[in-house]
Every structure is written in C-alpha cells, then in structure tokens.
C-alpha cells in the first residue's frame, strides 16, 4: 500500500474550469483503477491556476488477477457474430471453448504492477481529458486547456514513469511563479502539499477559498466595514491565485452617486473585487482585491494600481449613467420597436404591448389587486432601459437600471419598484415580488415569454434552454404560490396565448407541472406526491395544489399514512388482478372513459325503478355484509367519505387526510379477517365492490396509485 501523487503542471487554467476538471480527474482515475482491478483508498483532487493535482491513498502494489467467463454465440452462428465476439473478448477463435454448441471465452488476467496501471491512467488522462475547450501549442499535437509543462507522478517514493509527446514524468515541479520559480523535488505524496506551501503555493483550493473569505472580511472589518459576501467571487479568486493575499483599496466617494449595483458589478465583473458596506449598510468607497503575491511593499503599489483602474472603469460607468438618466424612459421606449425580441414573436415593443394587456387582465380579472393605471404605465416603461448605455455595458442590470432611472425621473415608487423587480425571481432562492404592481408585471412578462416561445415551437430540449423558459416557468410558479394568487393555470395560459400562435396549452401545462416538481423537490416534496395530486386537481390552481401536496406528503410520512398506502396498494392490486372495475352499471361507465372521481351519483344513470335500491346497495357494497370486519369498513367509509369530501371542498387538506386516516384500522382488519376471493360468487363480488369503494374514497383526496411505496 502506498499513496499516489499526480501533478499536471500547465500554464494558467481558467478559473471557471477548475472545479469540473478536479471532478473529471478524480472520476477518470477511479474508473481506470476500477477497470484494472486496482484497489485504492480515498481519492482527492486539487487545483491551482497552474496545476491539477491528485492524491490517491492506499494504492495496492498490483491489481488482483481475475478470471471471467463470457458466453458467446452458438457455434452454428454466422461468422460475423463470432467475429464480433472475438473482437469483444480480444481472443482468437481457437482460444474459445465449445460447450454444447455454444462458444465460451475465458478471459484470464494476471495481476499488473500498480505503476503500469497508473502510467496507463496518466496517458489516458493527458490524451483524453474532457476539457470544454482545449488547444495545441508549439509543434506538438497534444491538446490541453493551456500548454502542459510537467507531470509529477509518484507512487510511494517511486517514480511512475510515463512519457507523453515529449513530456516525461519526474519528481520535479516549480513553486509560485514569482516567489519561487526554481525547481522543487518532490519526495512523495506525503511531502507534496507542505513542500509547495513552503514555495508559496497553497494547493488545496478550499484552503485558499477560506483564506480569501476570512482575510477579506478581516481586512474590511479592520477598516470598520463589512464585506459584501460573494461566494462565486471567492471561488473565482481562488482559481486565479496560488498565494492569495487580500488587499484593501479605496475609490473616490464621488462615484457613489452611480447606482450601487453598477459599482458592485463593475468591481465584480471587470476587476473581481469585493465590495464593502459601512455600518448603515450603504456602499462604502472601498474594495478588497485578491493579489497573487505577497508584495514586498505590503501591497501598497498594488492597491494604488487597482484603485486607478477602478477609477477609470467607474468614470466610464458614470458617463453612461449620466447620459441615460437624461433621456425620459418614455422616449427611450420608442426605440424598442427597432429591437427584435424573436423573429417569430416580433419586436420588444410588441412584447411590451402584450405584457401590458396581460397585466391589465390580471388586475381586471381580480387575480391581483392593484392600481390599473400604475400597472399599465409600469408595463410600458419596463423595457425602456434595454436601449440605455448602462444596460448595453451590463446586460445583467436590465430592470435595475430602469428602476433607478424611473425613480430619478419622478415615477411613483410602485412603478419604479415594478420595473426593478420585473425579472424576479431569477431562480430558486431569489426574492419573489410581493408588491401588487410588481407582481402584475413580473408575472405577465414571464407568462408572455413562456407561452410565446412554446407557441412558436422554441421549447427547451435536454440541457438546451436558450430562452431560459425553465426559469420563467419556475418564476411563474414562485410568484403564484408565494403570493397565493388564486387562478387556474389554464386560464392564465389562455390569456397569454397569441391568437394566431399554435395551440400549446397542454404542453405548457405539462411543462409547468414538471417545473413544479423540481421546485418542490428542493423543499423536500416528492414528485410522486405531486403526480398523485395533479391527477385529481384538473384546473391547475397551484396554490391549492401545493397545499394538498404538502398535506399528502405529511400524511404519507405518518404511520397511519404509510399503512393506508400499503392497504390501498393491496386493494388496488386485488382489483387489478381480478380485473374488477365495479358493478355492471359502473363498469360500463368506466369503459366509456368517464372518469370515476366518485363525485357523480351512480344512480343517475339507473332508469329501472325496482333496480335502484339493489344497485345502490351493490354500489355501496353493503348488501348482505356478513363479517364484522366488512361491516366495520362500511361504517368507516360511510363516516369518512363525506368528511373527506367536505374537507377537500373547504381546502382543509389536513382534515381530509385525517378522514382517510380513520380508514386505516378498518381496512387493516378487513384484510386480516376477510377472504376477498370467497368461493361464494356473491360474497366475492360484494367484497370486491367494497375494496373498489375504499379505493375510490382514497382517490378522491389524492390518486394514491401514483405514490411510490
């Protein structure tokens, strides 16, 4: 047993690619060693801007030998089949065994030295790494993310020799580019991390992230400020540095009249600086940058340089801002007719029209209580910032800039807020608008986008979702649920549909249900619970649906719920096995495809006066019940059914579940004491009908057949 160390030294790896590269590296090594039958312990992967590093603990000295028997084609099979089998096994025909007319291949592998296996693994990594973008350099044809310079590969204290396109493995690497550019000789995995640290390289990205997090916060705190947390920026800076050193810098407070988001984004996107706030939570004219060097002057020159660059950036930003705020949003909005939203969905101006109409509808229909004039104006101004210089520079500030300009131009706060919040929520966890005008605009905008793109056939496929329709759908659901908007999805989709567009209502509804599952999964709701509820909630009132789903899952998680589900499955299985769809009258309706929600009166269709009573008895399953357990179940159903129905109508789903819970005891006893398949045909039929009634009663609350056991 020895530890394996692999370091792939290259020129700077883009920060955004490092996390995936670490995972890929660990995965490939795990796959290769597993395929070769080489036992290993824990695999750790690290990255710095210049290296990908892997440490595999407790690698066996050699792989275990193996013997594998593979069954092949019949000896009489066509030659091509036999050849295929030979290719697959890597054997010659005379090595195959003929066992009763069938070829068998016995593939025996002797144990291989771990170093040989690891050398092959390294070759596979270097020649076949799944970089999203890779390149050639010099005269070679090897591809890597940037030029690859060295391979350190040690098993224990022994070199794992490998040579790939002129790059030979060795024990030497280099330290920090400036602090320690000379060679370092590595003894083994045991001294690697510490030797590198001594040469100003912290190999473990998590340690660098921690240094950045703590160092930056401490630096800000020492200046009486609070660092604006930005985890993505922490990770990015850790991917840009081998020896991260936070440095505090300042900028001219005059720039603070530029919108805060613009300053923060300028610092973040262009400079990768952290922003700071003062004790009142306002943006402070300070920043923290992360240098990759412990500068001899304590970072004074770096801080000064960083400040200068930022000042140039901020004066550009301020120039745009001052220009933008001069032009009334109404004026700017006129240019929207020149910007194409989508070739089949018209210009942005067309979209503005549709959103305004839809937002008005939401108010007129009473779904949202808001001032209709404010809603109309907010909708008309909402997209105007798309033609501003500021949004041209920072597209991610769309809406935010519009909000600032609206406020600066004296629009009412509700309108400025609605413009600012129109793209919210931008995903799970983002703030959901709650002000009425904001809700109307944010919901109408997303509905128009979702419905419009579906109507022109631009649906998301696989990982491709160029118009962010998943996000739009999720946003719609979040807005509806968080604000308890009582409306059927069908009505909303119809209202948003383009009259001349294709009919995509059913598809959109299905898409929304899928999104609901994803959204609810994050709060721990199982997708099968949603299916169970969707089956009985036809109009797609999301608020109702979610309440019902939550109550259902809570119930299923209780002992009563779990047992009731088991009993339900048992009943459903028996009914299925017996192909029992109910008494003659009922089954004919089922065959006609009329959904048996149980709410229709089965007697409506019965014309014959004399038969009415008999059918009623038969349908209830009560006629001639002779065992106590049967009678008890009937009584329980008589009691629970109306309770459950009333509770469902009143949207008290907890009460509906409680009503179902009361069935658990009687149904369990029924199964314990009653034989359904009695030899007496009448008894059998009666009991099957009773099970049917039980199943339907449960289904009225939720379709339990969709719930996974």
């Amino acid at each position: 047993m020895a530890d394996f160390l692999l370091e792939l030294l290259s020129e700077e790896i883009p920060a955004r690619m490092q996390s995936k590269a670490r995972n890929d590296l660990a995965r490939i090594v795990a796959e290769c060693t597993a395929e070769a039958g080489l036992q290993t312990g824990v695999i750790d992967a690290f990255s710095t801007p210049r290296r990908l590093v892997l440490i595999v603990r407790d690698v066996a000295a050699a792989s275990e030998g193996s013997r594998e028997e593979l069954k092949g084609p019949r000896t009489s099979a066509p030659a091509s089949a036999v050849e295929g089998f030979l290719r697959k096994t890597g054997l010659q025909r005379e090595q195959l065994e003929d066992r009763d007319g069938v070829y068998f291949a016995v593939v025996e592998r002797t144990g291989r030295d771990a170093r040989d296996i690891l050398a092959d693994t390294i070759t596979r990594i270097v020649t076949n790494f799944p970089w999203s973008k890779s390149m050639r350099w010099g005269v070679g044809s090897l591809r890597w993310v940037r030029p690859l310079h060295g391979i350190v590969a040690m098993l224990g204290e022994d070199l794992v020799p490998v040579e790939i396109e002129g790059i030979s493995s060795g024990a030497a690497t280099v330290g920090h580019r400036f602090h320690h550019p000379g060679p370092i000789t590595i003894g083994s995995a045991a001294d690697y991390l510490e030797k590198l640290r001594a040469c100003h390289v912290i190999v473990d990205q998590e340690e660098r992230e921690q240094l950045i997090r703590q160092g930056s916060s401490a630096l800000a705190a020492a200046a009486g400020l609070t660092l604006l947390d930005d985890e993505a920026l922490v990770v990015e800076n850790a991917g840009l540095t081998e020896w991260p050193v936070p440095i505090l810098g300042t900028f001219d407070p005059e720039f603070l009249d530029v919108p805060r988001e613009v300053i923060v984004l300028t610092m973040r996107t262009n400079q990768k600086y952290f922003a700071c706030t003062n004790d009142e939570g306002l943006l402070a004219p300070s920043f923290v940058s992360i240098a990759n060097v412990a500068a001899q002057d304590g970072g004074e020159a770096i801080a000064h340089g960083n400040s200068r660059v930022l000042a140039a950036r901020l004066s550009d930003a301020r120039f745009f801002w001052e220009q933008d705020v001069k032009i009334p949003l109404e004026e700017a909005a006129k240019k929207l007719s020149q910007i194409i939203f989508h070739e089949k969905l018209g210009t942005i101006a067309d979209k503005v029209e549709r959103v305004a109409k839809l937002a008005r509808f939401l108010v007129q229909r009473g779904i949202i209580e808001a001032d209709i004039d404010e809603v109309e104006r907010a909708a008309r101004l909402a997209k105007a910032d798309l033609v501003t210089g500021m949004v041209g520079e920072f597209p991610e500030l769309q809406g935010i800039i519009g909000g600032y300009i609206a406020a600066a131009q004296g629009e009412p706060r509700a309108i400025a807020d609605a413009i600012r919040e129109q793209y919210k929520p931008a995903g799970q966890g983002d703030e959901v608008p709650t002000a009425p005008v904001s809700i109307a605009i944010a919901l109408a905008d997303k509905l128009d986008t979702l419905v419009g793109f579906f109507q022109v056939g631009e649906k998301p496929t696989g990982s491709k979702d160029p118009f962010a329709l998943r996000r739009a759908a999720l946003g719609i659901l979040q807005i509806i649920i968080a604000n308890e908007l009582r409306v059927s999805m069908r009505e909303l989709i119809t209202a948003a549909a383009h009259p001349r567009g294709a009919d995509a209502g059913r598809e959109i509804a299905g898409f929304l249900i899928e999104r609901l599952k994803v959204q609810q999964r994050d709060s721990g709701i199982r997708h099968d619970m949603i299916d169970a509820v969707v089956a009985v909630e036809k109009d797609g009132d999301n608020v109702r649906m979610v309440r019902r789903v939550e109550a259902l899952q809570k119930f299923i998680d209780t002992e009563d719920g779990g047992n009731l589900l088991t009993a339900y499955k048992r009943a459903a299985n028996i009914l299925k096995k017996e192909k029992w769809t109910g008494p003659a009258v009922m089954s004919s309706r089922a065959e006609q495809g009329i959904p048996q929600t149980g709410e229709e009166d089965p007697l409506v269709l019965v014309e014959e006066p004399g038969l009415k009573e008999a059918v009623a008895e038969m349908a209830s399953g009560q006629a001639g019940a002779d065992l106590p357990a049967e009678k008890a179940l009937i009584t329980a159903l008589d009691h629970a059914e109306p309770l459950a129905s009333a509770a469902v109508d009143a949207e008290d789903f907890t009460a509906a579940m409680a009503a179902l819970a009361s069935l658990r005891g009687p149904i369990d006893t029924f199964f314990d004491e009653v034989t359904v398949n009695d030899t007496d045909a009448q008894k059998r039929e009666r009991r099957l009908n009773l099970l049917l009634r039980f199943r339907d009663a449960v289904n009225r609350v939720a379709d339990f057949s969709r719930i996974e056991a």
């Binding site: 883009p14 010099g138 005269v139 840009l240 990759n292 060097v293 020159a301 770096i302 200068r308």
Partner: protein, 299 residues
C-alpha cells in the same frame, strides 16, 4: 547598442523607474530583438489591430518558423472621443510580438519583458486571466489570457489555433501590448494625453490631440459614405482579382482595406445590425481566400 536609460519620476509618492513612451517601445525592441525577433516597422495600411499585419496573419500559416516584433498604429474609428476622454482613442499603438512555433518558455519570456520595462513582479500583481481571442473578420481564433497588472489589462496573450479558417501548425504565440495603457501605468498618469512621449518635454498631447479631434470629426461626421461604399466594393473587386491571379499578399492587403472601410461605415452609423454580419462575412471570405492562396503558394 544599449537599452535606453530610464528616467525617474514620482509614482505613488516615491521614486520609481519610469520610461517615456518612445523608450518603452525602444526597450521592447531591444528585448525582443535579443529573443531572435525580426524588428519590423509598422505596416503601411490602416488596420484595427496589430494582428492584421501580414507578419502575423500570413506568417502564422504554414510550417515555417518565424519570430517578429513591431509597433502597429491601430485605427478604431468608433472608439474616437474627439480627444475628450482620458482613456479612449480612435488611433493608438499596439506592440505586437509573434513567436512561431510558440516556445515552452513564452510566458517567462513575456514576464521578462515586463521586468525589462520596470514592472517588478514581486511588487505588482501580475495575473493571467482567461480571455479567448477571436477575430470574425479574419476567421481566426486562439486561446489565452489577458494579462493583468494590478487589475489592469496590459497585454493580450494568445496561442493561435486557426487563421483564415486554417489550422495553425505549428502554433504561433502572439503577444499584444496596449502601449498607451502600459505607458500610463508605468508613468502613473491618469490621462493618455499627459503621457511623456520622450524625456525632453514632448507629450502625447502635443503629438496626437489634434489628430484625435480631427480624426473623430472626420470619422463620425464628414466621411462621405457613398464613396466609402464604393471603396468597399472596389477593395472587394481588387481582392478577387488578386486571388484569381494568385497574388495572396496583395489580395490580403485588399481584404485589410475592405475591413478598414467597413469600420469607417460603422462609425458613420450607416450599417444596420443585420447588415453588419453580412459585411463581416464578406471580409472574412476575402481574408480566407487570401490565406488559402498564401498556403497554396507556399506549398
């Protein structure tokens, strides 16, 4: 020959070594000359970037080794600001270095050039930040970085993968220094026009402010667009003629000419968003054809 002496100036409250604009160029010339580069003079055509010089584009194609360094004046009509913006110019200089095949020590060589012009990497924060390069008009792309010095982009560093739609084998390493920015940084000035051009009192303002004013006015307001459209058509026709006659270098020059005319038309605001793509595609086709002819002739 000896490298020019550095003048001293105050920077961040202390004395540092600081090169004038022309000494910056001369220092880079000496440095890259020592690395075996041919020190070329600027190409005598209007281009938007140092990359357009045939010493980069055409020499990046084919199997032959090549090392060159040169200053290239660049014209970006849309970036002109009438001399009123301290950071933007419609005409400026790039220092361009190409090394083919790219040596393993390219980063070290580059960092050596920074030290040579007075940037101490243990005092400043030098970083290689991902920035992939693409030139739609040249049908070229490569991977590399923008090099940051204390948060400022001072150089574009690229390993060419394709030029004119053809694979680069071997690969050329390209370094493009933004000379004005670098000089502003070294000299510690906030306005490009305040740059010391030499050490005897001539500033960038003295030489170029009037150029920027007149250039901006011409590019944005005066240039006759009918004649520009005509010039574009002429360049296209000349390029096609040269390709027909198997003259790749003149053909390439006409592609460059078309590209500059296109930039002028852009500045005049007479090309719509949809047309823009078509024009870029037209120039790319010319550049590709010239590159193809160059490769054929070399083969």
């Amino acid at each position: 020959m000896h490298p020019p002496k550095r003048a001293e100036a105050t920077y961040a409250g202390r004395f540092v070594l600081s090169l004038s604009f022309q000494d910056l160029i001369l220092t880079l010339h000496h440095y890259w000359s020592r690395q075996g580069c041919v020190i070329l003079q600027p190409y005598d055509m209007q281009v938007g970037a140092g990359t357009f010089h045939p010493a980069t584009v055409l020499r990046a194609l084919g199997p032959d080794s090549w090392r060159a360094a040169y200053v290239q004046p660049c014209r970006r009509p849309t970036d002109g600001r009438y001399g009123e913006n301290p950071n933007r110019l419609g005409h400026y200089y790039q220092y361009q270095v190409v090394l083919k095949p790219s040596p393993d020590s390219l980063q070290e060589l580059y960092l050596g050039s920074l030290e040579e012009i007075g940037i101490d990497p243990l005092k400043h924060d030098i970083r290689f930040v991902e920035d992939d390069w693409e030139s739609p008009t040249l049908g070229a792309w490569g991977l590399g970085w923008e090099v940051w010095c204390d948060g400022m982009e001072v150089t574009q560093f690229t390993y060419f993968q394709q030029v004119g739609g053809f694979e680069c084998r071997p690969v050329t390493g390209e370094l493009t220094y933004g000379l004005e920015r670098l000089a502003m940084y070294i000299q510690g000035v906030e306005n490009v026009f305040d740059l010391r051009f030499n050490d005897v009192g001539v500033t960038y303002r003295d030489i170029f402010l009037e150029n920027e004013r007149e250039g901006s006015e011409y590019n944005f307001e005066v240039a006759n667009t009918d004649r520009l459209f005509e010039a574009f058509r002429d360049a296209v026709a000349e390029c096609e003629l040269c390709i027909e006659r198997r003259l790749p270098i003149p053909a390439y020059e006409q592609a460059i000419a078309a590209s500059h005319v296109f930039n002028m038309l852009q500045a005049r605001g007479v090309i719509s968003v949809t047309e823009r793509q078509a024009y870029i595609g037209r120039v790319r086709d010319l550049a590709k054809a010239a590159c193809g002819a160059w490769l054929e002739r070399a083969a």
